[in-house]
Assembly symmetry: C2
Homo-oligomer: 436 residues x 2
């Protein structure tokens, strides 16, 4: 039986086949995402992978249905697998925003689904790092969000030579549009069509763009001059100064060719790209100050901004730049059982070491000593340990070859320093409020 | 707009409402699951949440469709949201087992879905810790798996007074059945019906059980005597001895009332229960030596065993026993910006501290000093830091009240020890094989 087209199987490394993905690499990426978000004070949330279809059509219009995994459930509800996280987040924030101090800084690592017409190798699901801020109109929030995106990418070893955040603003384009169409009202169909043309600028032949712009009352020349000038708006200037103060100025540039296709952005927008231009956008985001009001049916009004960073392009980029590590199970010690009469004592040692937090492997059944040792090497175990006469344990460091005989109680300490790393930005546990 | 019935929203703590769940508690549970699995040398995998419907009906028969979230996709495929992980795992193992040394020890933390007739408050999704071993017929593998289950539960602070693993065996019941129905062939409908009666023994009035057993040629009395004797089979004896050697004997007992409803178990089976009997089963599992062969259409034949441990009953139990901690964002330092001319220097300090792995918060915009300090306290920040004249930084430990003035470079070290915990059983990174 086969898996569905467009879905991924994630296997432990080493990867057995080019057609499957690394579960270890996925967890590595998730770990970096979580750590970066926590360092920035973002808190984790999650919602259901299934939502009512209406939640998505309210935000994006009926056209989105063509791209969704949607169906009718046994209770006759029109539902869909989430194609993006923002509608769920807006719903959740609107429901309980009063319980949280502003600004709300939240993140999630959802799996998202799209059913687009099938193209060979095109995925129908991916994972995304979503980070959002609610309740702050000041550009300082936009800068904080972009700094998080930059530091997330930096945490993988990527530098300012590898990627850049192209910074733009819906406000800048809105003013430009209004100068071109004096007296135009906000949110007209014409304005939206204009944004669509700008969004496709880099992928469309100039003649075609020229024609489309003419219909809307603009020339390509005036659009190009606006882009080339790249004069930052007041809000973009504030963001650039803020990021400069953090020492992150090299990672951003104003680039008005970025406008983001979706209708709901309201202020600064941005996309992360690799500098060489080999890949699709790594991440994208911006302000959407009206969405919470829309989703909550007018009950809650909160300014908002956020970004989404997918796992697929990021993974391609890390591989291309030689930045994706290889993973193993991190075995601290392989316990050799060469004499079956020592199996009970060996099991006790194994139990004690695991209880002390060590990663321990051993042969479940009787096996020749050289086969056990070979297995320890295959697993890249840091040490072997063998219970000997008088319950003493012979420990061997497999990288230095050094051997020592110690008591069972001393083994943990002897091998202890191999894998003890500082824990980056953990959740801190408090005494339980549920304690009776 | 509302979320779908039976689905959960996960919010950061403190929880705003009794109707929502804690994302922090969920991540705490996931963390403990992952750490326990890694200490035991299990490696993580994952598969798609959507699979072809056939994968599930092949394993469990057409009856299962009534309990599934199943639908026809736009490509006219009969598909379903996974109700359990084992069919996906069997499919994945069968596809690439040759690339992995045996025994294969894998785990996953999938979200699973069931569409059962609606009952108030009944969930339609949950998360499950799945751990499985492939390629080992010896009872040593069953003992290793059960030890993992025990240590996973112990890692939450649960003891032998809180839970017990009830150990049983399909083989014992099969022999019992064959003694009662001499010459019976294996895998008959009668045998399966008999197991169903045993499975429901504790929830069915004795008269009813008596009647059902009579039809199958058994008396309740002989069944009860077999259960009361509880004579361990050879394989169960080996497992008990193995767990005893590890010092885990107190956590298991033979109890033939456990048989597991599903048709596909073939050997030892087990369930974890709270000692007080207040909750449904915490976890369950056993051997399923024929499933890989069935799912692979006869291509691959591998003995297998595994368990599933859900998040919902576990969470109820932890709360009831006062073992669920309360969580906060673990803020290491709140940077106070009381003078806006110092904001650039403060942003630099914030950036440096975050880059060094610290969790840092601050006020995005101008705020009164006492309001900033109050926010630091609300966030349970361990320290505050304030940039002063000459780029010196005044650091205050909020639990001791101690204050010190240090250079910006020294702040990280001063607050460094608060959150640095040993990292339990991490994946170890190796140099990338992708490096150009």
């Amino acid at each position: 039986m086969e898996r569905l087209p467009g879905f991924r199987d994630f296997y432990p490394e080493p990867i057995p086949h080019k057609d499957v993905w690394s579960a270890d690499a996925r967890q590595y990426i998730f770990g970096k995402w979580r750590e970066a978000a926590r360092r920035y004070g973002f808190r984790e949330y999650d919602g259901p992978p299934l939502e009512s279809l209406e939640l998505f059509t309210t935000k994006s219009g009926a056209e989105i249905v063509g791209q969704l995994y949607n169906f009718t459930d046994k209770g006759d509800r029109a539902i869909a697998l989430r194609p993006e996280m923002t509608p769920t987040l807006a719903r959740m924030v609107a429901a309980h925003e009063r319980a949280y101090k502003k600004p709300i800084k939240w993140f999630a690592l959802p799996q998202l689904f799209r059913y687009e017409r099938q193209q060979k190798g095109r995925l129908r699901e991916h994972f995304q790092f979503n980070a959002d801020i609610f309740g702050e109109r000041d550009a300082a929030a936009d800068a904080e969000l972009i700094a998080l995106l930059i530091d997330t990418l930096r945490s993988f070893g990527l530098t300012a030579e590898d990627f850049v955040i192209r910074l733009s603003s819906r406000n800048a384009w809105q003013e430009f549009y209004e100068r071109g169409v004096p007296g135009a009202e906000r949110g007209t169909e014409g304005e939206y069509q204009f944004y669509q043309v700008i969004d496709k600028l880099e992928r469309t032949p100039p003649e075609e763009t020229e024609k489309k712009l003419a219909v809307l009352g603009f020339s390509l020349d005036i659009v190009n001059r606006f882009i080339e000038a790249g004069e930052p708006t007041v809000e973009l200037k504030a963001m650039l100064d803020n990021l400069d103060a953090r020492g992150l100025g090299d990672f951003v540039k104003v680039d008005y060719r970025v406008i983001r296709g979706l209708a709901y952005y309201t202020g600064p927008v941005f996309e992360a790209f690799d500098r060489k231009g080999e890949f699709r956008a790594i991440a994208g985001g911006g302000r959407y100050d009206n969405l919470v009001k829309l989703i909550s049916g007018g009950k809650v009004n909160l300014p908002a901004l956020g970004f989404g960073l997918g796992d697929v392009v990021l993974l391609e980029l890390l591989i291309a730049r030689g930045l994706l590590p290889q993973f193993d199970g991190g075995v601290d010690v392989f316990v050799l059982i060469e004499d079956e009469t020592r199996r009970p004592d060996s099991l006790k040692l194994i139990q004690d070491l695991r209880s002390a937090g060590r990663v321990v492997e051993y042969s479940l059944t009787t096996a020749k000593p050289d086969k056990q040792f070979k297995r320890a090497q295959e697993l890249k175990a840091a040490h072997t340990a063998r219970v000997e006469a008088g319950s003493m344990v012979r420990v061997r460091n497999l990288s230095t070859g050094a051997e020592r005989t110690v008591t069972a109680a001393e083994v943990g300490e002897l091998i202890g320093l191999t894998n003890v790393l500082p824990h980056p930005g953990p959740l801190r546990e408090q005494p339980s409020r549920f304690k009776p």
